[in-house]
Amino acid sequence: MSDSIAEARGVRKVYDTRGVVTAALDGIDFRVQEGEFAALAGPSGSGKTTLLNMLGALDAPTEGKVFIDGEDLSRMSSGELSDLRLAKLGFVFQAYNLIPVFSARENVEFVMELQQVPAAERRERALAMLAEVGLEGLGDKRPLELSGGQQQRVAVARAIVGRPRMVLADEPTANLDSETAARLLELMGDLNREHGTTFLFSTHDPMVMEAARRLVRLRDGRIVDDSREPSV
């Protein structure tokens, strides 16, 4: 428990859409250890993104509890949850979700701005991070001026630059060609090895499953397999 960064205990999540009740998660017990490079896999509707959202303090479970660094999220206010996400978590989304009115550099700076990092340091770190993800010289481009792969690399840089303990990446390679996806995975693997950042993916992509050192399979909102030596 001491090196567990995130934990779900008996988590159940039910969506009620105009009277249609769907159980997205059905009693999940799951723990993410510090430094893991893990993937949640399963068919659409199996609950991967929902579990990722619970562990990322983006959503609250209908039943059960979620802990980040031993802290019970259900006892925290929305402001405290914001602080927790800011300090400990980074996110990469399937659709990149960059802020369109900001340049690539400003997108990367955004988290540091929230962390109140001084402007000069912010700029320096953002440019260094963009260089690290292979986007040197593209800092002033707006998201729409970048390719999908470049946008996703900006998203990774944004997720990493605030020095989070854990990065939650929802289908990070879904919109990328295989070559770009491979480069991105390599980049995240390097960050995991060099900085010890924990990565948790949700994915359909066999390439991500292969790269992950732990593979958790979900079906109908339940964990059906949790393997540390994945074989796809």
Partner: protein
């Protein structure tokens, strides 16, 4: 960061921003213009009443307020009041001018008609300093040294079917109750902004009226004009203290409470209209912000996921609203003030002159700008924008980031 996000958010859809901004600007400019025209009308009503009948203050004999009859008179030509006014005039004093009057009722006969009139008897020279009669002569001339001359309102002249030089006979009941009369020649015709005055007022010299009404040296009232509108209350208090119980001193507001009520009612009616404009403006802003936020829900979800606090999201939305309002406000006030300046010579409403004269307003209305009339709508606009933005802002800030991210 909040202002940067707000400004970039507004710049994202310039057409929509310009539409809202224009709506705010038109609302503010329209309000500024209507307020100034409304104030101009009210100002003119008061000015006309002061310039024709009321003056700033009137001094009467005790009891006139309760029973305004001819028999309630100031003795010795109002000498005591005149001395008090003398003390208040000149260097450092609040009195600009004053004039004695005799007021009574009578019947005027011309060769063609008979009309009941209000007789206002004046000292021609002094009256010219306190009222607009002398300056409102449209035919003939103002009263002077020549005896037996009368000046009549333009509508009264029309009713009597007389012109300058025609003979009329004024019949009155004097102080002793006897019916008496005297012939006058129409020396001049005046036309003020007040229909009531033009229809029923006949002016003669005060010495002739004193003789006609058998008043001796007594007078009905003294009309006083203060140095400025602001000095009236202080001057009234000063005169009340100087004259004690020997006379009644009343301001134009006390003499014509109906006029005060009318001016206040005009103000209140205008504020009701402005209220409606601002409510419409608030809904317009709220609608645009809601649309803008609806389109950006996912993006706001991302920012919240990154660690942006709900209160900051509220601040961004409110900042957007304030920027639009501030620019719209500045533009609207600029346009409004420009329109008021362009109309500085007045708006010619001579087509509706008769209706306006019935209200005591001339056919040319000059907009009047009071600082409060511009500051109050500005404050209301900011308040409306804040309230309008609070609704969509709180709506989006209460979303969980996961919920916002699920929105398409």
């Amino acid at each position: 960061m909040i202002w940067r996000l707000a400004l970039r958010g507004l710049a994202r859809n310039p057409r929509r921003t310009v539409v809202v901004l224009t709506a705010v600007a038109i609302g503010i400019a329209g309000c500024a213009l209507t307020i100034s025209i409304n104030s101009g009308m009210a100002h003119q009503m008061v000015k006309t009443a002061i310039a024709t009948e009321l003056g700033h203050l009137q001094i009467h004999a005790p009891g006139f307020d309760a029973d305004p009859e001819l028999r309630i008179l100031l003795p010795e030509g109002g000498v005591r009041a005149s001395r008090a006014l003398e003390d208040e005039s000149g260097e450092g004093g609040d009195v600009r001018a004053w004039a004695p009057r005799v007021q009574g009722q009578g019947l005027v006969n011309s060769p063609r008609a008979s009309v009941g009139v209000r007789v206002v008897a004046v000292d021609p020279e002094a009256e010219a300093r306190v009222s607009a009669y002398a300056g409102s002569i449209v035919e003939g001339e103002w009263l002077g040294e020549r005896a037996g001359r009368a000046v009549v309102g333009a509508d009264l002249a029309r009713r009597l079917r007389v012109d300058v030089g025609d003979k009329i006979v004024l019949s009155v009941q004097d102080l002793t109750g006897d019916l008496t009369g005297r012939a006058f020649r129409v020396g001049g015709v005046f036309k003020t902004a007040s229909l009531a005055v033009n229809q029923s007022t006949l002016l003669i010299r005060i010495d002739e009226a004193q003789q006609l009404f058998a008043l001796g040296d007594r007078i009905s009232e003294i009309v006083v004009i203060a140095d400025s509108d602001r000095d009236v209350a202080a001057l009234r208090d000063q005169l009340v203290s100087s004259l004690g119980s020997s006379a009644e001193v009343r301001s134009w507001e006390e003499l014509q409470p109906l006029l005060v009520y009318l001016v206040n009612a005009m103000d209140q009616m205008a504020w009701a209209i402005y209220g409606a404009v601002f409510i419409a403006m608030a809904f317009g802003i709220a609608n645009v912000l809601l649309m803008s936020i609806y389109e950006r829900t996912r993006e706001i979800g991302v920012m919240m996921a990154m660690g942006m606090k709900p209160v900051r999201v509220v601040a961004v939305v409110m900042a957007e609203s304030l920027v639009v309002t501030a620019v719209g406000l500045a533009t609207g006030l600029g346009v409004g003030i420009l329109c008021i300046w362009l109309l500085r010579d007045g708006i010619d409403l001579s087509r509706y002159a008769e209706g306006l004269e019935a209200l005591g307003v001339g056919s040319v209305i000059v907009p009047v700008v009071r600082s409060n009339d511009l500051l109050a709508p500005a404050a209301m606009a900011v308040l409306a924008a804040t309230i309008a933005s609070a609704w969509p802002a709180i709506r989006v800030a209460t979303l969980r980031p996961g919920e916002a991210l699920r929105r398409v």
